[in-house]
Symmetry: C2
Subunit: 235 residues, 2 copies
């Protein structure tokens, strides 16, 4: 029983991969490097793959940068220190055009080649910050595309899209990861890391992650260049 | 009114692009180079883009080869001189895993960035040689993914998938291209071209193309290394 897992090296996808392993799947990890800024994620993704004892780990590079259209792949500034309210309204500039559609389609190609029965994706609807392609109805629609658009599907073997974190809060995701022994120190979420790999502590992704650890009563083990809780304890 | 056109440099996608131009769209051509053998297509695609007066022409390289799984991207042999019956039964080894899903998702990302209202694809159901991702129901399912998975769609601007060749025979496609002045000599269909760029004349794609020209009462202007009609007139 094989599963392709979209593995960015981030917290969510690593917890999703650990859940897939717990469920008995042989893991085929797919890391897509699309010219985003956080290049450091790739190295962490390799270390995580080793921890997960993945059967295979493919790193696919392609230049989504060519299209522009996002602060994550373009030259726009990553928004910093936005309030929870700001984060929850509208689609942020870090939205990558059709990202999950592109990622799932590449995972589908991989799933078809290795004959995997499902694709795991760390999509999350509560913390999705307005990304349309993290919604359940989107994932169901993609499943239909997977069934109709592949040789596997034609032969009655549909590829299911599994998003086990879909309805969890960030705190619940962290608790789930804790229960499965996920090495949080290897996971990386920052949209705008420093040259030394430390997280900025101010982008949406850092703010959501830090709050998740705080609400879980844990300290995030990754290094931060600046951390709100550190700043508040400064003189 | 903008349209993204998936432009391989082949006969079908070029005729589809010419139809999009006739319908008044500003063309945004997307050529995807996925490690396939027929590298010569890329150069032809550039020349075709110039003929079409495209507003933009993006060439996106990525290594679908990494997954393997197809004679078109792997090391398997391209099947030669198959009969019409052989071509019409089953899915050929030149099938690229989830190809149109991958291509449409990349076109969707591009469409979202340039704010195009539709994507043109040269998919064809009659000559599709058993490729599941050329069927109308697949294209409709992808349209739903496009609506649900993009910022555009969220704002009520759906991206339509247009496949104007879907129900045409190869002969009808050629006649359509003839009416629009398509420079057939620049289009390239062979799965296994020679080093000098000439078409093999024996793969499924060449056989279908040659028969299409023959049935239209025309001679295909591209050079062939071997051509069935030449062979039959040999001593």
């Amino acid at each position: 029983m094989k599963a392709v897992v979209l593995a960015s090296g981030g917290l969510d996808s690593t917890v999703a991969a650990a859940m897939a392993r717990r469920d008995g799947y042989a893991l085929y990890l797919l890391t897509i490097e699309y010219g985003q800024r956080h290049h450091v994620e790739i190295q962490k993704a390799r270390e995580i793959a080793a921890w997960l004892e993945a059967g295979e780990h493919k790193i696919l590079r392609f230049d989504l940068h060519a299209f522009g259209g996002s602060a994550l792949v373009g030259s726009g500034d990553v928004p910093k220190n936005r309030s929870e309210h700001e984060r929850e309204t509208g689609i942020p500039s870090t939205y990558v055009p059709a990202r999950n559609t592109v990622f799932l389609s590449l995972a589908l190609a991989y799933a078809e080649v290795v004959d995997a029965s499902c694709i795991f994706i760390g999509a999350n609807v509560l913390d999705y910050s307005g990304y349309p392609d993290c919604r359940p109805e989107f994932l169901r629609a993609f499943e239909r595309v997977a069934r109709l658009g592949t040789k596997k599907g034609t032969h009655g073997n549909t590829v299911r899209i599994k998003a086990p974190l879909l309805l969890l809060s960030k705190t619940q995701i962290i608790q789930q990861g804790l229960a499965l022994g996920v090495p949080f120190e290897l996971t990386h979420s920052c949209y705008d890391p420093r040259g030394d790999g430390s997280a900025c502590g101010q982008c949406d992704s850092c703010l959501i992650r830090l709050k998740g650890f705080e609400d879980a009563g844990l300290r995030d083990p990754v290094p931060y260049a600046a951390r709100a809780s550190d700043a508040s304890s400064a003189p």
